[in-house]
Symmetry: C2
Subunit: 335 residues, 2 copies
């Protein structure tokens, strides 16, 4: 099938391409009658404008980028849902990029956006991300960027996230209320602000309850499941093992449960477990899992909405628009 463009339409209608273009965009300069004719033919021939010609000319691409560490995580999957919902409603397209927690990849991806490929970026930084120069560079090219979930405090833009400090606090306090005393915090990154904040909340709760730093256990996990399994098993296979565990990230849950099973530790009797998680299956785990659940869809939705607002009025100050959503504690049988 022949590809049909403005010129074809114009020729068949004995009009200029300019007129056709304006008619299709419902310009007030064009008579109703002409608009009718143009629209009729466009529909008949099933004309779809070439987006790249239009992008080139207008210097706007009607597409945004979503840059995240991974998709196989129910938080990010739900966040994408939230983002896609807004994008679809605004007629925007969404490009997706996975960093797999690599800072180098993240830099390379953002670098490319200097080209004008996207009108804006939604970013959740990788666990390795140690500085924000790549973000600053992008901003200096007038590409608006909104960070969500895994935010960077340093950068000047909208940040949409959970109230991480409180969430960490809430998790720890819940375990303490349940009578657990030696509580471990499983982190995925020393550098990630989100992880630090959750940890600070945990530490604060511990201190307020007069636990000594010697009774805190901070355990660094990684991207590597095998490694995490070993680390967690090691943590628990020990005279002075913790009796409570806070998994700061969903994927660590499986490792914790498996380690307990291998070591024949009973949850919640021997070890209480609470996870930051959006898993739909939390309620049907064995035992059902107490979670700190983030409003993932809403966070994605809010981040995207802010980005679109910044497209609509250029005077919109993204950095005055950060939002923090409360997480909710779902108490189940693992604590």
């Amino acid at each position: 099938m022949e590809n049909i463009n403005l010129k074809t339409l114009a020729a068949q209608l004995h009009l200029s391409t300019a007129t056709v273009s304006k008619a299709l965009r419902d310009s007030h300069e064009i008579s109703d009658e002409t608009k009718q004719r143009v629209r009729a033919l466009a529909a008949a021939l099933n004309y779809i404008p070439n987006p790249y010609a239009s992008s080139l000319r207008k210097k706007s691409s009607k597409t945004i980028a979503v840059v995240i560490p991974e998709v196989a995580d129910s938080f990010f999957a739900e966040a994408i849902n939230g983002i896609e919902a807004v994008a679809q409603s605004k007629g925007y397209h969404v490009l997706i990029y996975l960093t797999h927690e690599s800072f180098e990849k993240e830099k390379a991806i953002l670098m490319d956006f200097q080209s004008g490929r996207v009108d804006g970026v939604l970013l959740s930084v990788s666990a390795e991300t140690v500085n924000t120069n790549h973000i600053l560079t992008l901003q200096s090219h007038q590409i608006p960027i909104v960070v969500f979930d895994r935010i960077c405090d340093e950068i000047k833009t909208a940040k949409v996230s959970t109230d991480d400090y409180n969430s960490g606090y809430k998790a720890a306090q819940h375990l303490i209320d349940r009578g657990y005393k030696k509580i471990a915090y499983l982190s995925i990154s020393k550098t990630l602000s989100i992880s630090r904040k959750r940890m600070n909340g945990y530490m604060q709760a511990m201190k307020e309850n007069n636990f000594l730093p010697a009774e805190f256990y901070i355990c660094e996990c990684t991207t590597d499941d095998e490694y995490n399994n070993a680390v967690i098993e090691n943590l628990l296979n020990n005279e002075n093992r913790p009796d409570g565990i806070i998994a700061s990230v969903e994927k660590l849950t499986t490792s914790v449960y498996s380690a307990c099973r291998r070591l024949q530790l009973k949850i919640p009797e021997d070890v209480g477990v609470i996870s930051f998680s959006n898993l739909k299956t939390a309620a049907i785990l064995n035992p059902s899992l107490t979670t700190i659940t983030q409003p993932a869809f809403d966070i994605g939705n809010a981040a995207a909405s802010l980005l679109f607002k910044s497209f609509e009025k250029k005077s919109f100050q993204l950095d005055a628009e950060s939002q923090s959503f409360p997480s909710v504690l779902h108490i189940r049988n693992s604590t």
Copy 2:
């Protein structure tokens, strides 16, 4: 920061834009010395070519589209991983679109691709998709399309999927081997070929074991969790309830487990449960879940690889390249 383009480079180097363009693309027409100079300046000024200008000119966008019903499903999430891996290695960009099981949305999305926005499409059809005209139209515009997982048999192109018939058969046979006799099949769509095939496999196994059609239970589920909960509870809350359940799709697992809990039916004693699922948490459910697991990453990877092959040689016949991957049965405590 000023946006820098070929013209800027050319001016600073006292060369023509044509020469600079060729130099950057490492054309043999250009002297090594010039290439050096050009590359040096391009790097120094951090030149990133405008992709839309290039797309417009070359009529190729270096981007593909992934059209799927949803992301919040571990099969699709993993499949995206597989797709993204190939795309990234080939320097391609990936646009993502969610149909939320709506045929109308799917049509609208594919329609837009006639514009040349993408070089190819990876599609997993919605549960509502009843005909393939939208796909045929796209193909008539020379946009290659590979269907994966939720394939359509009718269309002439590469189809990458699991061996669904065998998987359905395997699931049923496993339950039968375990001594279950009244086995229900939970479907998500009458029209989806993938669902029909799994169901046919189930029926075949039943017949081979001399169960009567009267002992088959086929249960239509939907997108709506509430509704599914009710339907499944109704199925099980009954004198003549099934003693075995095959969930043909991951998301139904939670409904089944919850229904059993509410009705105080014990898994696996009262009801055996097997699910098509890629959940990482299958092993730590209560009880751990017997699954038919699809090689999601590989399927995504294979689908994308085929698409890229068709870009590389236009003589490549996609419709001669369908692939079927075996699923694996993970026997756990729910059966």
